[in-house]
Amino acid sequence: MTRKAAPKVLLLDLAHARSGDKGDTANVGLIALKPAYYPHLVKHVTAARVARHFRGLITGKVERYELPNLNALNFLLHGALDGGGTVSLKTDAQGKVLSTALLRMEIAAPR
């Protein structure tokens, strides 16, 4: 019996996103491109999975909030901005493009 690897899909193909900052914490709002994708995102794009995705790039934990009314998930990435605001030495000191960094994640393709 052979077992085929489940087909993968880039999050970019299922969702869009916008990110911003609050001090040294970045937020990434992840929004399903179609309402039908939302439950799939809830299942596969967990806080733990996102923390793994950003490993080495953030120093703190990841929290997730659900907004089923907007087919959206909100992630808080703590310690993402080298101190944040004016202290940060990063090009992206306000985490503006962490949105698309999240969209690089690969998850199981929806059926």
Partner: protein, 453 residues
Amino acid sequence: MRIAAGQGFWGDWLEAPYRQVTGGPIDYLMMDYLAEVTMSILQKQKSRDPASGYAKDFVPQMERILPLLVERRVKVTANAGGVNPRACAQAVAAAARQLGLGGKLRIGVVTGDDLLPRLDGLLARGHDLKNLDTGRPLREIRDRVLAANAYLGAAPLVEALRQGADIVITGRVTDTGLTLAPMVHAFGWRADDWDKLAAGTVAGHTIECGAQCSGGNCSVDWQRIPDLANVGYPIVEAHADGGFEITKHPDTGGRISVAGVTEQLVYEMGDPTTYITPDCVADFTTIRLTQAGKDRVRFAGIKGRPATNKLKVSLAYFYGYKAVGTLVYAWPDAYRKAQAADRVLRRRLHDLRLAFDAIHTEFVGADATHGSLATRATRFAELPEVQLRVAVRSREAGPVERFTREIAPLILNGPPSVTGFAGGRPKPEEIVAYWPALIDKDVVEPCVELVDV
């Protein structure tokens, strides 16, 4: 009632306010100027010149539209007053008189947010203003504090409007309060009608970043968003029952869609069930959006909860110095050359025994935005160029100053095919850092004054 966003931050499109006033009927123009560290810049300006300390750009912008505002009876809410709202109001009043508008305008001034003169008294009375993120007490940095402002809500603006103000100029008022206040004033909403206050707050959040909800910085279908050169800034069409729609003037570019508006709703979001303002606590998980027409999104169902008994305080303090140096390396082996140059530079900084809090290297074109998530997928040998970007941070000016002199030598004594240094030596910058805190609401006393032009 129509509230138009004219400015999403200090530095936003200078044409936007004029276009909002002339592009179609509006009742209010809302202009947001204050970012977290803006107050410290303004405080520094005020310490040098007691007549400054506000968003200077606001005055010529108003000068351009004042006759139109009077003619069309459009009112303005703006937090352009910074740390000196009275001086800002005086400057606008002088401009209005120059334009022959004497006797035709009343300016409301909202103050009371500036806690800097009261800071030691507050600390002595047990308000420790500890850092919301780190829990550290303010006394650790007290001698370096440059600005301290409580975020006021909509209430003092409502009072200014009630007293007949046509233009309300404030200091540190929440972005959302600038939009909520006209609604509370026009519809007579009670101070404990939490659902309606939450609705007005959500409306404020939606338009506070200007065109970021009307097609700007929108990632959905971005290539087909029409005519961003002519982008229409958002307008709230508000109803007395708390329902509202977001739209824009006809014949403008951009797009107002559920997807684009949703992106703005989640922008800078924390816990979506608990969006805290001085006016209420709004629950973003109750918002129902529908596309009600072309470039028109309807909001309904918004629920709110009672406001807390605290106000957020934004403090700014002197932290230290930083500088950023860049050089551009060209094909072949652009990335490897930039990496080699970084190693050379770091070795020299090390040998000079300079004390930095942090040295941060990015390779722009390879990893500056997405770090290791990007470099896994990049074929480095083919990169046409890479910008080496090295930044340093220190409590002391000396090491940062010396760092700025270590970039240019690499052009002749480091790896080859390097350019992009025409800008000259980088300049050390002072770092003014942000310290968020909370304070009991009842110790902050908003003050409203009227200036007749």
